[in-house]
């Protein structure tokens, strides 16, 4: 009895801890998201939320659904595996509602130069030219149609 009387304050201190722990458990039950731990130590819903983000690039398969003529031209040339949107920009909105977004024809002086400007750094087998000397200022598309850049077909596939 004497021990309890003289150690009573210690039990009160311990009691504070117990009380705090209980409050903690209750709050935790409310605050931790329900999907936490579903797949691992993270919020399971995060996976579905991230997967639901909007798509900006439609992808060549979608473009090819409508633009079959371009597909015909392109598939015969060296640009067969270049994605439409690599040059025309992200067009998922256009695929969803073609009238709402009209794709812009990019400026070939900038666009073609990005890949085809000659540089010692590029693989030797890759077609590359010095833009200043190659065409004397004549725009690239005069001789090379972007969808099929081989010179022989220029003018035929417009």
């Amino acid at each position: 009895m004497n021990l309890f009387k003289d150690a009573g304050h210690l039990f009160r201190f311990a009691g504070l801890f117990v009380l705090a722990f209980i409050v903690f458990l209750v709050v935790r039950g409310y605050v931790v998201p329900k999907s936490f731990g579903q797949y691992g130590h993270y919020r399971g819903n995060a996976i579905t939320e991230i997967a639901a983000r909007p798509v900006k690039f439609a992808g060549h398969e979608t473009c090819e659904t409508c633009h079959t003529d371009v597909l015909d031209t392109k598939s015969k040339g060296k640009h067969a595996h270049v994605n439409c949107e690599a040059c025309h920009g992200p067009l998922a909105k256009h695929a969803e509602d073609p009238a709402s977004v009209v794709p812009v024809k990019p400026d070939t002086a900038v666009l073609c130069a990005r890949c085809h400007t000659a540089s010692a750094a590029k693989p030797k087998s890759f077609p590359q030219v010095d833009p200043a000397n190659h065409s004397n200022g004549v725009p690239c598309e005069t001789c090379h149609h972007p969808h099929n850049p081989a010179i022989a077909d220029a003018g035929a596939a417009k």
Binding site: A46, K56, T65, H79
Partner: protein, 243 residues
């Protein structure tokens, strides 16, 4: 455009319906994506990369990456003869607008696209104090922007420098392997827009995946193998000087 009016009237609704199913919101609703049937990685084919920067621009457009930060970037190496320990490396604005013309002919040059390696033993996941970054059951390392504290411990722990703190959202951010695309049967934005096929998505659980076949028949490497991160970005033709 050479479509006849009749073609147009038939194809339009078909395309719209096809697209709607592609845009279906969640993996569960996109009826054919089963998370446990996939294990994603990427192949990066160094000899094919021309340093055009399309991938960096496409990623920025697809994922709203803020300027000055990079979910993916391209480095240009210049290795003079046998001096593999001192390559000259540049990455102007991450290679977003391509690279300046290289004039020196001595030594070898090549481009190295970099990205999150989606490590299976990811050190960034190990150090996250609250579980805001994680490896999904299909092998993609993601960040939960609603749970992240922005402590930047994961940024410190990544050996490849692929993470950053988003300047506006104040949470950790990085390449998500375009998770919102690959779960809908599309490929990543960078792979889609690479003109030479230097970047290719690979599903390591799909035996019919041609890239999976490539990995099994060619010498490939990962970056910093000594870190034992289980990196899943495989490089074909990687030079010993690459850091």
């Amino acid at each position: 455009m050479n479509l006849s009016r009749r073609h147009f009237l038939v194809l339009m609704p078909a395309a719209a319906i096809a697209w709607k199913s592609v845009l279906a919101g969640t993996p569960e609703q996109a009826s054919n994506y089963k998370i446990s049937e996939h294990w994603w990685g990427m192949l990066i084919d160094i000899p094919k990369c021309i340093g055009c920067g399309n991938c960096v621009r496409a990623c920025q457009a697809e994922n709203d990456v803020p300027d000055g930060y990079f979910r993916t970037w391209v480095e240009r190496y210049h290795v003079e003869d046998e001096n593999m320990t001192n390559p000259q490396v540049i990455s102007p604005d991450g290679g977003k607008e391509g690279f300046p013309i290289a004039t020196e002919d001595a030594g070898k040059y090549f481009f190295v696209p970099k990205m999150c390696n989606h490590c299976s033993d990811s050190p960034c996941t190990q150090v996250c104090p609250v579980g805001a970054t994680f490896v999904t059951p299909d092998g993609v390392v993601l960040v939960d922007p609603k749970y992240c504290l922005g402590c930047a411990y994961c940024v410190q722990a990544c050996p490849y420098g692929c993470r950053y703190i988003h300047p506006d959202k104040k949470v950790a951010d990085k390449c998500s392997l375009c998770y919102h695309r690959i779960t809908k049967g599309l490929t990543t934005a960078c792979c889609e827009n690479c003109p030479t096929g230097a970047r290719q998505l690979v599903d390591l659980k799909n035996p019919k995946d041609p890239i999976h076949e490539f990995l099994k028949t060619h010498s490939v490497q990962v970056l910093k193998p000594q870190m034992a991160t289980g990196a899943k970005a495989y490089y074909n033709g990687l030079d010993g000087s690459v850091r």
